[in-house]
């Protein structure tokens, strides 16, 4: 569910989370497909970014090979003692990579 800056939204993107008004009412439900009118409304609204369905993004980067990612990850963690907190972060990053979320 990538977050996209409001100014970067494009026609055809699909909201995967509802947007709410300040009073807690649903402004746009999840699943709404953005059109020109909604883009114009959102450009004047307070939302800094919104979450959209990744399948509605027009561009996706190819993930680099997993071995490159693991090498870089090890390098980034190479100067710090691996406490439980950092171990958890490292494992979550690896999990993201294996499911294709991470590049």
């Amino acid at each position: 569910m990538p977050a996209v800056l409001t100014d970067k939204l494009k026609v055809g993107m699909k909201l995967c989370q509802a947007l709410y008004t300040d009073k807690g009412k649903v402004y746009l439900p999840a699943g709404t497909i953005l059109d020109e009118k909604l883009l114009a409304e959102l450009s004047r609204a307070r939302y800094k970014y919104v979450r959209v369905d990744s399948s509605s993004l027009s561009h996706k980067k190819a993930a680099p090979p997993a071995s490159d990612f693991e090498d870089r990850l090890e390098e980034r963690f190479s100067r710090v003692a691996l406490c439980p907190f950092l171990r958890l972060i490292k494992e979550a990053l690896k999990a993201a990579m294996t499911t294709g979320s991470q590049g």
Partner: protein
């Protein structure tokens, strides 16, 4: 203690330069008729130098507002359209060390985003301030880079070759780290402690007398962002971590995993959060 040289230069520092494409984008918005204020606010709120400039003027003695202003939206309302335009059009632009300044900006934007996500999970109320403090947390690095480009290169060398973490390298070279530098800068600009206290303690939230939760959120976000590979050009290593910060926040392991998992995918597509890319 900061060296006299650092202290003196910080005292005379009226503002920080923006990266060129941020300045260009925000100037274009400011000079385009009928640009919605929310859109301009979002753009300003994506550039640490410009956001700090607005806060500084809103908190200056010229305006004399009775309370310190710690929100960007509030600052813009108080300043008014003409003043905002004037401040945008007179802003300085980074002329050298662009690669480092861009990397620093990208990191700040990522920390701002991850901190907001963490803030939601731990139930902090003021998401606008979390996002703002995340954006401004490395203001001290930008100041050191602008004021002492040569010495900053020495810091980079110490990180690369001597394997020091960047904060320790800064203290060796300048006698002070970037967090303290940012604190001094914010104080000299009369920014409220609700902004500068968490910035000063983003590497040491356990020592924060005020704003512990926000300092801890920024600390954890900074670690996650660096771990996910959005560091600075010379400083790509995961920094030493204050172990209790995330436990004190009361965030569950599952929530933390979800934030990291989400951040990993999101930070790979950082251009989706980059208001200044085409």
């Amino acid at each position: 203690m900061p060296s006299l040289d650092v202290k003196k230069k910080l005292e005379g520092m009226a503002g920080l330069p923006s990266i060129p494409r941020a300045a260009k984008h925000i100037s274009e918005l400011a000079t385009t008729p009928h640009t919605p204020m929310k859109r301009l606010e979002r753009a300003i709120g994506s550039d640490p130098a410009m956001a700090a400039r607005m806060l500084r003027f809103a908190n200056s003695e010229i305006y004399g507002f009775p309370n310190r202003i710690d929100s960007l939206s509030h600052s813009l309302i108080l300043l008014g359209v003409d003043m905002i335009r004037g401040l945008i059009l007179s802003t300085r632009v980074m002329e050298s060390n662009l690669a480092e300044a861009e990397a620093l900006w990208r990191h700040s934007l990522a920390v701002s985003w991850v901190a907001s996500e963490l803030g939601v999970r731990v139930g902090l109320k003021d998401l606008e301030r979390i996002s703002l403090v995340g954006l401004l947390h490395d203001l001290g690095k930008l100041a050191l880079l602008v004021l002492f480009p040569g010495k900053y290169e020495t810091v980079a060398r110490k990180v690369r070759i001597n394997k020091l973490d960047s904060l320790a390298a800064e203290i060796e070279v300048f006698g002070v780290g970037h967090a303290e530098v940012a604190g001094q800068l914010c104080q000299s600009w009369s920014l409220p402690s609700s902004i500068y206290a968490p910035i000063v303690h983003h590497h040491s939230p356990d020592q924060a007398k005020e704003g512990f939760a926000l300092a801890a959120v920024i600390h954890v976000a900074d670690v996650i962002v660096k771990a996910a590979g959005v560091g600075h050009t010379h400083d790509t290593y995961v920094p030493p971590v204050v172990n209790d910060a995330w436990r004190e926040l009361g965030i569950s392991e599952d929530d933390l995993k979800e934030v990291v998992f989400d951040a990993a995918g999101q930070l790979r597509n950082l251009e989706l959060l980059d208001p200044f890319s085409g």
